[in-house]
Symmetry: D2
Subunit: 471 residues, 4 copies
Amino acid sequence: MTQHPSDSALGSGNTGTADDSTDDGPLTVVMPDGYQAIRHVTETLCINLDPEDCLAQSMADTSPAKWHMAHTTWFFETFVLQPHAPNYKCFHPQFSFLFNSYYNGAGERHARPQRGLLTRPSLRTVLEYRAYVNDHMMELLRNDSCDRAADEVCRVTEIGLHHEQQHQELILTDIKHLFSKNPLLPAYRAPLRTRNDPIGSTEGLDWITIPEGVHRIGQGDPSFSFDNERPAHRVFIEPCQLGDRLVSNREFRDFIADGGYDRSDLWLDQGWLAVQREEWRAPLYWRGGANDYSEFTLSGERDLEDNEPVSHVSFLEADAYARWADARLPTEAEWEVACKGRIVEGNFAESGRFHPEAAAIRPSRATTGSTDQQSPSGVDSRLNQTGSGEPRQLFGDLWEWTRSSYDPYPGYRPDAGTLGEYNGKFMCNQFVLRGGSCASAQAHLRASYRNFFHAPDRWQFTGIRMTKESA
Amino acid sequence: MTQHPSDSALGSGNTGTADDSTDDGPLTVVMPDGYQAIRHVTETLCINLDPEDCLAQSMADTSPAKWHMAHTTWFFETFVLQPHAPNYKCFHPQFSFLFNSYYNGAGERHARPQRGLLTRPSLRTVLEYRAYVNDHMMELLRNDSCDRAADEVCRVTEIGLHHEQQHQELILTDIKHLFSKNPLLPAYRAPLRTRNDPIGSTEGLDWITIPEGVHRIGQGDPSFSFDNERPAHRVFIEPCQLGDRLVSNREFRDFIADGGYDRSDLWLDQGWLAVQREEWRAPLYWRGGANDYSEFTLSGERDLEDNEPVSHVSFLEADAYARWADARLPTEAEWEVACKGRIVEGNFAESGRFHPEAAAIRPSRATTGSTDQQSPSGVDSRLNQTGSGEPRQLFGDLWEWTRSSYDPYPGYRPDAGTLGEYNGKFMCNQFVLRGGSCASAQAHLRASYRNFFHAPDRWQFTGIRMTKESA
Amino acid sequence: MTQHPSDSALGSGNTGTADDSTDDGPLTVVMPDGYQAIRHVTETLCINLDPEDCLAQSMADTSPAKWHMAHTTWFFETFVLQPHAPNYKCFHPQFSFLFNSYYNGAGERHARPQRGLLTRPSLRTVLEYRAYVNDHMMELLRNDSCDRAADEVCRVTEIGLHHEQQHQELILTDIKHLFSKNPLLPAYRAPLRTRNDPIGSTEGLDWITIPEGVHRIGQGDPSFSFDNERPAHRVFIEPCQLGDRLVSNREFRDFIADGGYDRSDLWLDQGWLAVQREEWRAPLYWRGGANDYSEFTLSGERDLEDNEPVSHVSFLEADAYARWADARLPTEAEWEVACKGRIVEGNFAESGRFHPEAAAIRPSRATTGSTDQQSPSGVDSRLNQTGSGEPRQLFGDLWEWTRSSYDPYPGYRPDAGTLGEYNGKFMCNQFVLRGGSCASAQAHLRASYRNFFHAPDRWQFTGIRMTKESA
Amino acid sequence: MTQHPSDSALGSGNTGTADDSTDDGPLTVVMPDGYQAIRHVTETLCINLDPEDCLAQSMADTSPAKWHMAHTTWFFETFVLQPHAPNYKCFHPQFSFLFNSYYNGAGERHARPQRGLLTRPSLRTVLEYRAYVNDHMMELLRNDSCDRAADEVCRVTEIGLHHEQQHQELILTDIKHLFSKNPLLPAYRAPLRTRNDPIGSTEGLDWITIPEGVHRIGQGDPSFSFDNERPAHRVFIEPCQLGDRLVSNREFRDFIADGGYDRSDLWLDQGWLAVQREEWRAPLYWRGGANDYSEFTLSGERDLEDNEPVSHVSFLEADAYARWADARLPTEAEWEVACKGRIVEGNFAESGRFHPEAAAIRPSRATTGSTDQQSPSGVDSRLNQTGSGEPRQLFGDLWEWTRSSYDPYPGYRPDAGTLGEYNGKFMCNQFVLRGGSCASAQAHLRASYRNFFHAPDRWQFTGIRMTKESA
C-alpha cells in the first residue's frame, strides 16, 4: 500500500550540502563494492532474528523480514539479471509470483495479507536465493563497462539499492510492530544506554524564519533521485517560521493531559473518526497513563523519556497536536527550503540505536544558560518566542509529517516501464513526510526526498515539527 | 461526510467579473428579500416529488430531500434565531437532534445513515417547520438595523443562505442517485428537449495558455466567501495549457473502447482497486455498452449524447482518462488563474435543465468552418493542437476535478465557533473541484470557490478538463 | 432471510381442538369470501400509516409495509392468476422483479436491503395493484367449480392467504422496529388501556408434566398445513415439565439485576459474542435501567409492566435466562405434546392490542388464595414447585423459543415447484418458535405450526417458557 | 470457534464393541504410561515441520502447530498441576494468557486470530515447556493412589489426553490448510503409495436398513465420554436406510458435471449464498476442472482418485449433493444406531496415511461379481437398489456430516467448573459429525462420539453418507 522512496550517496561520500548537485550525474554508488555493502546490511539487520521472527506478518501494511529479504532480491533478478545477464537462470520458477510486491507490469503476485503464510521457502532458502543473485549481480557488475547496455544495468542497479535501503527501514519498523503485538514484548536489540545528560529538548522552542518569495524545490541535478522528486520547480512561499526541533514526549503528554484525545474541535474529521474507531489515547507504543507511561522500543519496553521527541504518531495526531498548540504542520516546500545548504546528518540507522534522541542542546542557549526558556505550561512560552537559531533534527530521528498531500510536482513524469509504478500511482490520499528517521540509512536521504504514508499510519518512525505564520 | 462550500451574489447583481471585489464588504444578499427568494427555491425544487420520494436515502453519502429541507431550516434556528431572536421558541424540542448534520459543537445528532428512517416528522410537518422559521427570520431581518448585533445576524444569515444553496444542489444530486436505484427509472423533470444543433463539442480541442509566474489566488476582498477560500495568497505557476472545454462523452467512449477500464497502468493505485472492487466499466449513470450506451438523467433514461461533456466520473476516472490522453488534470491554482477577469456565466440550475450541455461552438472556428479539427481518433488531434482561444464551460455544466488535494491555504484560519466546523475539518483525503455545475445556483459561484469530494465519489455532477505542460 | 410459516382456519371455524383433524381435507378458508376478508385485513393494518411510514426499511431483515402489500399481491398474480386466469394481463411488467422476495424459481429480484428505496410505485399505485388483483382473483374464485384445475387454484389461493397472514404479522413487527428507530418514538395505535387487575403472572410458576413415551407430532390430517409440519411422525420424549406460563418482565429484571448480561458462564458462545458485539443490556425495546425501565410498544413508550411476559428477547437471551433459572427451553416436540387436545385461543392480533398480556390468574390458585406462591426472590420458589395445572399462554401473546434447531422432520418433502422454496431451504442455523403471538391471526395458528428465526433475532414478538427434567 | 470432543480407549484395549460398556468406570487410559504415549504422539506429528511451519496461522479457524503444542500443555498445567501438584511453579507467568483457548473461567487470553504472531516463545521453548510439564505430570501420576484427590487428578488427566488427541487431529488439518495456501504446495509427508487394486468404491451402493422403533443412544456406561454424549436416552426412529459406504469422488464429479454448483434449487439458502460468496466450484482441495481434477493432500498435490471418498466438503455441499441424489443426510441417531455392535476400526491416524481410502470391496459382491450394479448415470441405479449388507467406512476415513443440528440431549448437564465450557456452549448453529477420520486417533473414537462444525466449514476431513426413507 504505502510505498517509500529512497536514495543513496554511499560511495560518493556524503560531504556535500544537501543541494549542491551540480555534477553531471555520476552514480552515487560505486559498483560493485557499493552493491555488496548495501546488500550486506540487510542480512546484518536480521542477524538476531529467529526464522520464526522473520516469518510473521503483524498486519496487512507490514511484511515479514523474510519477505523483505526475498523481495529486494527479486527486484535485481527481475529488473537486472533477467533482461541483462546472458543465460541467467532464475533461482526458482515461482519466486516471481511469491515476491512481487505491487508491480502490475511484472505479472501476478501473492496476496499481500498472506505473506505471513509462506513458511516455505524457508529462511535458509531465501538466504541462498540472496547469495545466488548476489553472485550473478557481482559478475555482471564486474564485467560491465560504459557502453549503452551497461548504463542501463547500473541505472537499475542503483534504483535497486535505494529500494533495498527502503526495505531495510521497513524490516525495522515491521519487526517493531510485530514484537509490540506479542505480550512477551521481546527486544530486537540490547537495551538503550542511559543518557548521562538530563538536559534535553524541552527547553523552549525557537523558530526558524523562512522568508517569503519564489524558491526552487525538487531535484534538478543529474545525481540520483526518485521520479517523484522531479522536476525541480519554483514555488512561492508566504513568510513563516518552523520550530527548531521536534515536539517532545513531555509536550505531547501536556496535550493528552489537556484532553487532546477528547476534544473533537482539535481534530480533522478523519482524525476524530479514527480516535473513536481505534480508541486512540496515546501514541502507538505508549502504555500506561498519566504520569507513568512506558514506551515500547526496539530494545523492549522502558519508561517514557520526556526529552525524546514524540514518535509513532499519525498525521491525524500530528495535525491535532499542532492545532492544540496554535500552530500547524509545515508544507513540504517550507521544510525543504529550511534545509537549503545543510548537510544530511543526524541520528540514522548507522548508529544502531534505532530510536530517536532528544534534540541536542543549542550551543548559544547552552552557554547563556537561559533556563527561563522552559515555562511550566510548556506551550505558551514556546509560541511566544521568536528567534532565528539553527534548526535541529531536520534529518534523522523521525520522519516529519508535512501538511502536504502527496501530489505530483508540475511536469511530473513517472519513470518509463514497470519501474514507473514505483511512486506515481500512490499519489492519492497520502501525506508527505520529510527528513528520514533513526531507522533510515544516512546515505539514503537528501533534502528533496519525499516519503509518504496514509493519514492514520503510525507504525513508522514519525514525529512532529511545528510551523506558524510569521507575525 | 464530504461537505460543500458555497456563496451567493444574489441581489447584489452578478455583473462583475469574478475577481473585482474591491468594495468594503456589503452583503451579497439583500435582506430580507434575498432570504425569502433563496429559501423559496428549495420548496420549488421539491414540488414534483411525492412525500415518499422525499424520505428515502439511497446511500450513506446522500440524504433525503426532506432532511435537506429540515436541516437547512435547523441552521437558521440554531445559529440565528436561538442566539439572536428574543424569546424565540423552538419549533420542536427534538429537531435539533434530528437535523444537525455534523456539527460536534451543536451537540449530539441522529446517525447519518439512518436519515431515511425518519418517516416522522412528515413532509407536511417539515414544511410547517420551514414556514415557522421563515416567519421568525423575516421578522428578525425586517427589524434589523445596522448596529453591532445586526451585523452578526446578517453575517450568519448570509452563510445560511449559501448553505441553503449547497443543499439545493444536493437535493438534485441525491434524488438523481435515488431514482437511478429504482428499476422503474423515474424522471424528476420533463424530458430534455432535443437539440437542433448537431454541431457540438467534439470538434478538436484548443488549449488556453497559462503564463508562468507568481499569481494571486483565493478570496481577498471583503465580499462573501467561505473560510477555505481565504486568505488570498501568492502561488508560483509553471507554464501550462488548459483545454478550452470539458471532455465529451464521445471522447470518453474512445477511452473505454481503448481498454481504459482494463489497463492498470492508466490508474492510480486507489483507482485500480476501485475499478475492481466496484466493477466500474463506465461512468456512474451509463448503461448498456459499446455503441448503444444510454444514460440516466433527471429526465429519465435516454440515449447517450456524444457531444455532451462526460459526467458523473470520479476523480480516479478523470485522472485515468487524462493519463490515457497524455495529459493531466489542472491544479486548482491553474484553474483559478484561467478564470481571471471572466464573468460567472454558464449552464446553471436556474435554467431548470439540470443536465450539462455540449460546449458552445467557438465563434472563430464556427465561422471558419474548420471541420478538419475532428480527427477520427479524437485524441491525437486534440493533443497536437495548440491555441489561445477562449475557454468554454469554466463555470456551470459540471464541477471540474482538479489534481489538487483539498489542503488549507497558507495562513488559513477556520471561522470562529461551531461554524468553523464547516470546511476545515474535511481537509484530508479529498480533492478540490471548481466551477459549479448545472445543479448549482449561478449566484452561488465565484472563481475562488472550492468544492471538495473524495476520489471515488461519482454521484455529483462532475467532469473533466485536461491540462498539459507547455511545450 | 428468516421466513415464516402460517395457516388459517378462518371460515371453517376454530372450534376443534388443535389436533382433531380427521376429515378429508376441505379448504379451511371458504372462497371467495375468505379471500376477501383476509386480504382486507392487510389494508386495515395500514390505515393509520402515512405513505412515508409505509416506505422505510429499518434493517435488512425487515421490509416496508408497502412492500409487504405489494409482495403478497404479487404472490396471487404469479402463482394463481398468471397460470390459471385466461388472458390475465399483468398490472405492471416490472412488478415481478420488484416484489419477488426470495423465490429463485420465479426469476430475478430487487435486492432485499434496497426495498426502502422504492419510492415508486407510490403507495397509491400499490393499493390500485391490490384492487386490480383482487378483482381478478374474485372473478376467478367465483367461477371456480370443483374440477381438477379448480382444486389447484384453491390450493394455491389458500397458501397465498396463509402467506398474507404471515406478512400481516410482519407489517406489525417491522413497523414497530422502524418506529423504535425514530427518536420521536411514534405510536402505531392508541395507548394501551390501563389494566384494572393488578394481580398478574408473577405468582409462583406451576409445572405441567409431560409423560415419557412415544408421541405423535406434526400434521397428519388433510387440512391445511405447511410442508415443514409434515409428515406426522413419532418421537420419544423423556419425562419433563413445562412452566405453566411465560417468563414475566419482573423475572427477567431479576436476571438482569443478578448480572445476567455480565456472566459469560450463562451464555452460549454465540450469545456471549452477541452480548459484547451488540452491547445487549436488556430486551430489545427496553430503555432506562434498574428500577425505571420503560418499554417501547406499538402504542409508544410507556413504563415497563412487571406482570407482562418479557418480550423481544433473542433465542440467545432466552437460553441464558433459562440456564440462570436452572431450567432450559422446551423442545418443539415437548411443546407440541403439551398442546394436545387444547383449543387455539389467546391474545391474538384480532384483539387489536398488539402487545402481550399478563398471564390470566389460575382459577384454582385464585380461589385458594395461595399467596405463598410468590417468594421474594422469585426464582427459587418457582423451581421447587411442582404441579399439574393448566398451561397458560400456549397460544398467542408471544412466540416461544424452543431449544430445537429448525431441522426437517423424518420423511420431509418440500412442496413441488417454486412454492417448495417456501420453508425447506431455510432449515439451517435457525430455531423453532411455537404458539403465535399478539401480532398473529388466531385463525392462522395450530399446534403443529413451526415458526423459525435466527438465534440473535429480537424484533419479533418472542418470549420464554421454561422447562426442566422431571425429578 | 468450532470445538471438538474426544475420547480414548488407549490402554484398555479397543476390542469391545462400541456400546458394550457395562463395567464400573475404570480409566480408559492406563497411567502414567498412557499419558506418556499420547503426549509423545504430538511431538511425533511435528517432527517433519520446520519452526516456521509451526508458527503460521492460515485463518482464524485454524491454529499454529506450536500453539497446539503449547495449549495442550497449558491444559495440564492449569487444570491438573496448579490445583493438585504441591508447590508446582508455572513454567512461565504469561503462558496462561498466551495459551488459553476459550475458557472464560480461566481468565483473559490472547486474541485467537493473532496466534500466528507469537514468534516468541520459540518452538524450542515450547518443547521445553512440554518436557517441564510432562516431568511434573509423570511425577504426580506415579505418586497417585486411589484416594479421593487422586481420582480427580486422573479424571482431569484423562480429559486432557482426549483433548490432546483432538488437537493432534487439528495439527494435521491446520497444516494441510496452511500448506494449501502456499503456492509451492509443500508436502507434509511422503507420497501416498499407488494402490494396486483398481477396483474400488464406485460399484453400486447398497443400503443398510434401520428398523423403526425406540432406540437408545448416547453414552450410558461409566467409561470415559464427553458430557455432550450424555445422558443415554431413548429416541424413536422412523424406518430408513443408510448408504453402505461414503460418496466417492467419481460420484461427486457427476454432481458437478450435472450443474450441482449452478442450480439454486439443490441448495439450502445458506448454501446458495456460500456458493456465490465463496465462489465454490468443487471441494476445498480440488483444482483444475472437469476431467483433470487434481487434489491437494498431506502428501502434496496429485491426480484425483475417483474411487476415494469425496472429502473436505461442507455440510452445505453434503446436503446439496444428497438432495441432487434424491436422498438426504442421516440424523445422528440413525447413524449411531447403525453402529450398534460394531467394533471401532478403519483408516485412522495411526496408519500415518492421513488420507481417506476407497471403500473396501464388499465380500459378497466381490464373489458374486455383480458388475451390473454400476449404471452409467450412477445415481438412479444407486437409489433403486436395496439391500442389507454390511456398512463400510463408518469409522475412520472421514467425519460424516449428519442432518442433526448440534443440540443438547434431553437431560444434558455440562461438566462442572471451567471444563464445563468444553462442549455445551457451542450448541448453536453447528452440525454433528460422526465416526472420526483418517486424522483421528482410533483409540479416541466411539459410536456415541459427537463432533461438530459449522455448516460452511470445509477444512476438516469431512465426507458424505447418504440416507433415504424406507420404501
